[in-house]
């Protein structure tokens, strides 16, 4: 791992490898993502390896060796240049010294002749320049050095030049020449400098571009990483979605899919392993290749180094040789000019010796020079005379310049055609003076060639006598006249006057040269004469052990006929290629490490996949178990409910028989318990239904206040028994009628109030209030008195009571809805309203630790509470879900021993008020009688007084409130005086404010007012009512006997109870106020009504007919839907129709639809005035109530209803909602287990418009009583048509 990190950090993508790992770890989640991820990982691997290789090659790119090489070459160059510098300096020096002695006239020519020597510095610099451009970076040092030497050269030359300046003008020319060369050197230097900067710039540019490229690569890598991660993430998401989808598919399919995925994952696992093996093999191969490549590279570089070094040496040797050759040539010219060009000769042996001695440093390689004159045989005598010695012959041919040989040993030369006796010689070789050079074979050849070619000619190497070294002799011909450049050999031969020879000691030459160079110990140099290719003569160097291939460089010593070459080889064998080894081993290690990591990752993936599969299987099992649980619950509940209905029905029947008190008590207890059980089962069913999402909400118009009254009436007895105040308040701003699911709404409130009652014992109150959500948005602007009071709950009075309904402390209700999220965004749609319902109690409160699980099904505050208070804890959970279904939220605030307040919001649709007009009339029969009346409420608690005011207002009574009897007294007396007391019809006094001592005078006052006039004005006597929470019958009797109050109204206040009490007290509306149809009155309701029974089953038909006839109805029976449609075509005489749904031919649905369309046609005609008034009779609108009869409710309605055109459904729904709703209320009030009856009715209503009678539901409850209801001419009926469902 660490090596992996190192590697990646060196490449600058540490993070990439880390992420890679992460990617690998996150990889094992899905089977689908694997392929992708593999590709990505592989990509990264490749990138990483490439980076590694790049780094290695760039780092090892011959740095060290190149450095050595460049340092060598630069060093060498400095020396060379220095040397040249010195050489040219010395040249001047020598010339100068020559000039001092010799004639000045000839010097010009000499200078001209030798002028080509001078530019040697130039040439050297030029060459340097060429090299400099290649090795720019090392040149800095070199140039500095060079520069440092140049001034000295400058100086020295000027001093030397200064001398001849006084003597001769020609010197100025030389000096100029010199200066120009120097200045050209400077110029070059500058140029070089420029070039250098240019190079530097270029280099920096290169550097920049390289770094830019690197940065770019890094960026690309990063981008790639990000992209790949995104892809991974996306893929994961996608696959997780896929899994979700998989989860949704049925289980059988799931398991199939699971198996598939298992097998696929297994196969991909194998594939992965194969890939891994391939990768590892590839890595190994790559590492071997890398080794081979790097090794080759190193060898190549070694060769190159050797070659360049060898070439360097060869060039140097050649240069030096050439330089000294030039010097010899110059000497030859000197001799030609001064010896032959002058009469008499300016040179004698002494001068020559001197000169050559002093210029010996110029020819460091020559052991000696000698000049031999060309003497023809004819001139021999004269020559010998002139010189004073005879021309001698060389004894041993190959020992020409041997120094140890005695002059006496040489015999006089035999007669030849011509001779070449040495006349001048350097002191070192002075023994050869007078020896005829033509007599030696080598020399002779040399001389012949030299004079023919006019160039320097070399002999083949031979052993020099003295030094025992191999040496060569260089010979130049000296011509007496100036020859043209294109002179033919003949001319040359003729013009020859003498020969100048110089012997070279090659080994010492080479040794000296090599000595000057660094790294001489690393390579071995051999110099060969290869004129004869087959037998090369080793001129220098020893034959050492072969250490690899030598490098051969050709040497050109200026003699075209001779060929020389230099062979170089390294002294040591090449060291093992460590770089290649480390690199390849590194790659190998990395590959193996990566392989190991991936292997581990693959194993882990497999493990996690296995775990995932197991988990999925367990999950499916758990889900299946959950579904099974729900199904079981639903089934069992349903199955329990059916027999329970029987039990309850039987108990009801039993109670109707003659029982004694004990038996009746038992029966009642059993009945009550049965009801509880049924309600519990219904709740469980509800829960199951909601959980499975099958619960659908209705949208029917309903009177909210009536619903609340109904809830209150459910709990009135309980609250009275417990002595609790139970009150409902609805804000003025809440509309009368809203569209929603009133049953569910009522259910929520019932749940909450039921809970409150359960947990509130013997003290305080339960207060239900309804406001618009908008009203509480701005607390400070609250106009509603109840809200204002609840804003700051303060203690009032001394008796530790608060300004709440009952005076007990309550929690701050405002806190209960502060967490509601959707509170602010309510009035987006104008037709929607959001209601806030608050149920406040002064109960035990919920302990803080239990508050979080209040809404969890089957969880109660704690087990002890469960024991103490009973219950299942399902109510709140259902409430919460219902509230959420209705687009609201539920919340609460609770404190121990103070109480709890539950708040919830629901969204309803605003309804037009006339929806409920007809029903309203029914409900508020008494309302017009009280409209315009005035009442005085005496209550010390403001909230309670507001509640009373709310109820009275609903009856159309305006209300004044006073807080005590005393203030009421003053109010009334005031009232009496101002004589506007006509409408003060009643005084309502709360029990708490009631005191006997103040009652009498108050009563008397009222009686007085009554006598004075109010009675005559309004015709209503002033009545006093006492509002009591709980009052015993004896108390009540007492009060009535006292005649202080007219009646006692027991709370909770309800509009019906109030109306009834008022009517009773005032004697109004005694007639026909009975809104509840009772079995005894069924006969009157059904009497003489025309009823059509449609059923295909004769027996059923007969039974229905019998049942209806019993109550006096006139029954017509028909067999099928078609006949029914014919009979019900308006105008007709029928008041109602009982319709079987499942009939052969035309079924109930179709028949109803046809009847409805006929009716609507007729109604249109009536509206447009086409139809006669007779035809419509008393009906302004044809709508025959059609009551369906079936047992198979769910199937029939659900399937059929959906097929109905929505318009029809709507028509049917709207036209009959109120009526059906009212029936539902009646049903539910008298029978809690008929809850699902209503649901069924709802189902059917939405389909057909009227009512469906389901014998399952109503069997037990309604069989004995045969309930029938009649509202405003429409009839609803639950008749014992069948005792059992068809199916």
């Amino acid at each position: 791992m660490s090596s992996n990190c190192k590697q990646s950090s060196s490449n600058g993508n540490l993070c990439s490898s880390l992420k890679q790992k992460k990617a690998w770890e996150s990889l094992h989640r899905t089977a689908d993502g694997r392929k992708w991820k593999r590709v990505v990982v592989f990509l990264w691997l490749v990138v990483a390896l490439c980076g590694l290789v790049c780094a290695l090659t760039s780092s090892n790119g011959g740095n060290s060796e190149r450095k050595v090489e460049t340092s060598v070459s630069s060093e060498f160059k400095t020396q060379v240049s220095l040397e040249y510098c010195n050489v040219s300096k010395e040249e001047f020096h020598a010339l100068d010294s020559l000039f001092i002695e010799s004639d000045r006239v000839a010097s010009l020519a000499c200078c001209r002749e030798s002028g080509y020597e001078m530019p040697s510095s130039c040439t050297s610099t030029c060459r340097l320049k060429m090299k400099g451009s290649e090795k720019w970076h090392k040149l800095v040092a070199e140039n500095v050095e060079f520069n440092a030497h140049c001034p000295s050269r400058d100086e020295s030359i000027s001093t030397y030049v200064g001398l001849p300046l006084s003597k001769n003008k020609t010197m100025s020319f030389i000096s100029q020449l010199a200066f120009s060369s120097i200045s050209s050197g400077h110029l070059w230097y500058k140029e070089n400098e420029l070039q250098m900067t240019e190079l530097h710039n270029h280099a920096t540019y290169n550097c920049e571009s390289i770094s830019f490229c690197l940065a770019k690569i890094c960026l690309w890598i990063l981008a790639g990483m990000v992209a790949s991660f995104n892809i991974l993430k996306l893929h994961e998401k996608f696959s997780s979605q896929k899994h979700e989808i998989i989860q949704e598919t049925p289980r059988a399919q799931q398991s199939q899919l699971l198996q598939q995925s298992q097998s696929s994952s297994r196969s991909t696992g194998k594939w992965r392993k194969k890939i891994l093996v391939v990768f590892v093999l590839a890595g190994v191969v790559f590492s071997f290749w890398l080794f081979w490549y790097l090794d080759k590279d190193i060898i190549l570089r070694r060769k190159e180094t050797l070659g360049s070094m060898c070439d360097e040496r060869a060039r140097m040797l050649q240069d030096q040789f050439n330089v000294s050759m030039n010097h010899v040539h110059a000497l030859a010219l000197l001799v030609s000019t001064f010896h032959h060009g002058k009469q008499p000769s300016a040179i004698d042996q002494k001068t020559f010796e001197d000169y050559t001695e002093r210029t010996a440093f110029e020819r460091p390689l020559t052991s000696g020079v000698a000049y031999a004159l060309r003497v023809r045989h004819s001139e021999r005598k004269e020559f010998e005379q002139q010189q004073g010695w005879a021309i001698k012959k060389m004894e041993t041919e190959d020992q020409t310049l041997a120094q140890d040989c005695n002059l006496e040993n040489f015999s006089t030369s035999p007669v030849q055609e011509e001779y070449a006796p040495v006349i001048f010689s350097q002191k070192t070789v002075s023994h050869i003076v007078s020896i005829d050079m033509m007599s030696g074979k080598e020399d002779r050849e040399n001389i012949l060639r030299a004079r023919a070619s006019g160039k320097g000619v070399l002999t083949s190497p031979f052993k020099l006598l003295k030094s025992n070294h191999l040496g060569v002799v260089l010979t130049f011909a000296v011509y007496n006249t100036h020859l043209p450049l294109d002179a033919i050999p003949e001319q040359r031969i003729n013009a020859t006057v003498g020969y100048l020879g110089a012997s070279y000691d090659v080994p010492s030459l080479v040794a000296k040269l090599l000595h000057q160079l660094a790294s001489k110990q690393t390579i071995v140099v051999n110099v060969y004469d290869t004129t004869n290719k087959l037998a090369p003569i080793n001129m220098y160097g020893t034959d050492e052990a072969d250490t690899g291939l030598p490098h051969i460089s050709n040497l050109d010593f200026g003699d075209p006929t001779r060929k020389h070459e230099m062979q170089c080889r390294f002294k040591q064998k090449p060291p093992p290629p460590w770089q290649a080894i480390t690199a390849s081993v590194g790659v190998l290690v990395i590959t193996l490490l990566l392989g190991h990591i991936f292997h581990a990752a693959i194993n882990r993936i497999a493990k996690v996949e296995r775990g995932y599969r197991e988990m999925m299987e367990l999950k499916h099992r758990a889900e299946a178990a959950d579904v099974a649980k729900s199904q079981f619950l639903a089934t069992v509940s349903h199955e329990i409910r059916t027999p329970m209905n029987g039990v309850l029905g039987m108990l009801q029947m039993l109670m109707d028989t003659n029982l004694d008190a004990m038996q009746l008590d038992y029966a009642q207890t059993a009945h009550a318990n049965g009801k509880d059980l049924i309600s519990l089962i219904n709740k469980v069913l509800d829960q199951a239904k909601i959980e499975s999402g099958r619960l659908e909400l209705e949208a029917v118009p309903f009177d909210l206040r009536a619903v609340l009254d109904k809830v209150l009436s459910l709990f009135s007895r309980e609250s009275q028994e417990q002595g609790l105040e139970l009150a409902v308040y609805v804000s003025d701003q809440v509309p009368e009628v809203v569209i929603g699911d009133q049953e569910r709404f009522g259910q929520i409130i019932t749940n909450l109030v039921g809970n409150s009652i359960k947990f509130t014992q013997d003290k305080g109150h339960i207060f239900v209030s309804v406001h618009l959500a908008n009203e509480v948005m701005l607390p400070l602007d609250a106009r509603d008195e109840v809200l204002r009071q609840s804003l700051n709950i303060v203690q009032v009075g001394s008796n530790a009571s608060y300004n709440t309904l009952s005076g007990f402390r309550v929690v701050d209700r405002w806190r209960s809805w502060e967490n509601f999220k959707k509170f602010s965004g309510i009035p987006e749609e104008t037709e929607k309203i959001k209601l806030l319902v608050t149920v406040e109690d002064t109960g035990a409160g919920i302990p803080p630790e239990a508050q979080c699980r209040i809404f969890t099904p089957f969880m109660q505050a704690d087990s002890s509470t469960s024991r103490k208070y009973g219950g299942t804890g399902i109510g709140l959970s259902i409430s919460k879900r219902l509230v959420e279904l209705m687009g609201g939220e539920i919340g609460f605030v609770s404190e121990l021993n103070i109480g709890s307040t539950f708040s919830f919001t629901v969204t309803f649709t605003k309804a037009e008020a006339n929806y409920l007009d007809t029903m309203q009339q029914q409900c508020d029969l008494a309302v017009p009688e009280f409209r315009g009346l005035k009442a005085l409420v005496i209550d010390e608690r403001r909230v309670r007084a507001e509640v009373t005011r709310y109820h009275l207002k609903r009856l159309g009574i305006s209300v004044d409130i006073t807080s005590s009897m005393e203030s009421a007294y003053s109010y009334v007396s005031c009232y009496g005086k101002t004589s506007v007391s006509e409408h003060l019809a009643m005084v309502l006094v709360d029990q708490d404010s009631w005191g006997k001592d103040i009652c009498f005078p108050f009563h008397n006052l009222l009686k007085m007012i009554e006598r004075n006039g109010s009675k005559s004005n309004s015709g209503i006597p002033l009545k006093i009512f006492l509002l009591a929470t709980c009052i015993s019958s004896t108390q009540r009797k007492e009060l009535k006997l006292d005649r202080l109050v007219d009646n006692v109204i027991t709370k909770p206040l309800r509009i019906s109870a109030l109306a009834f009490t008022f009517q009773e007290a005032t004697g109004f509306g005694k007639m026909g106020h009975n809104t509840r149809a009772k079995p005894s009155t069924l006969r009157t309701l059904l009497k003489d009504k025309q009823i059509l029974v449609v059923d295909d089953n004769a027996v059923n038909r007969r039974v229905a007919e019998g049942a209806l006839k019993k109550y006096g109805a006139v029954v017509t029976c028909v067999e099928g839907g078609k006949v029914a449609v014919g009979l019900l075509k308006p105008p007709h005489k029928f008041d109602a129709c009982f319709m079987d749904l499942q009939m052969p031919g035309m079924d109930g649905f179709e028949a109803t639809r046809q009847i409805r369309s006929l009716e609507s046609e007729c109604n249109k005609k009536i509206d447009s005035g086409e139809a006669s008034v007779d035809m419509s009779e008393n009906f302004a609108h044809w709508h025959t109530p059609i009551l369906a009869m079936t047992a198979d409710v769910i199937q029939a309605t659900n399937e059929e209803c959906m097929k109905w055109p929505s318009q029809l459904r709507h028509l049917a729904a709207t036209s009959d909602f109120p009526l059906a709703t009212q029936l539902c209320h009646d049903l539910s009030e008298s029978n809690p287990c008929s809850f699902h009856v209503e649901l069924r009715l709802g189902d059917f209503r939405s389909a057909m418009g009227d009512i469906m009678i389901n014998s399952t539901a109503i069997k037990q409850e309604y069989l004995p009583t045969s309930c029938l209801s009649l509202f405003s001419g429409h009839m609803y009926c639950a008749v014992p048509l069948r005792s059992e469902p068809y199916t």
Binding site: N1100, G1106, K1109, P1280, Y1286, T1287
Partner: protein, 136 residues
């Protein structure tokens, strides 16, 4: 004599209920019987037997067919069951339910077996009810 007769009638009815032939629907029917409809129950029962004889015949014919038309059988039996429910013939109703169960599962043998049982019950009830109505 009158009292005896009434008692006898009561006993008979009780035995019918005890043996599970009838259920409370029958009582409901009797309740519907009054001066205006003195023989309502008898009338209904007679109607039932007239109507159901046709149904039983239909079912028998359908059962002879091969393969069995379960939809048709179910339809007939539905009607028969509805009628039986109306007069409160409890045992018959149970048989009907079982028959329809068999129809649903496509159990032809079960159907035939149940139908034999049903016919037996049908005849037994007819005999008992005839006896019951003859008493006054």
């Amino acid at each position: 004599m009158e009292r005896n007769l009434h008692k006898q009638l009561g006993n008979m009815k009780k035995s019918l209920f005890d043996q599970g032939y009838l259920d409370e629907q029958f009582i409901q029917l009797e309740e519907l019987q009054d001066e205006a409809n003195p023989n309502f129950v008898e009338e209904v029962v007679t109607l039932y037997y007239r109507d159901s004889a046709r149904l039983i015949q239909n079912i028998e014919q359908t059962l002879e067919n091969n393969p069995l038309d379960f939809a048709k059988l179910d339809n007939y039996m539905h009607q028969f069951k509805g009628s039986s429910c109306s007069i409160g013939a409890k045992k018959l109703k149970n048989e009907c339910t079982q028959f329809r169960e068999h129809c649903k599962t496509g159990n032809g043998d079960g159907c035939k077996r149940t139908f034999q049982q049903l016919k037996k019950e049908y005849a037994a009830l007819k005999k008992k009810l005839e006896h019951y109505f003859q008493v006054p």
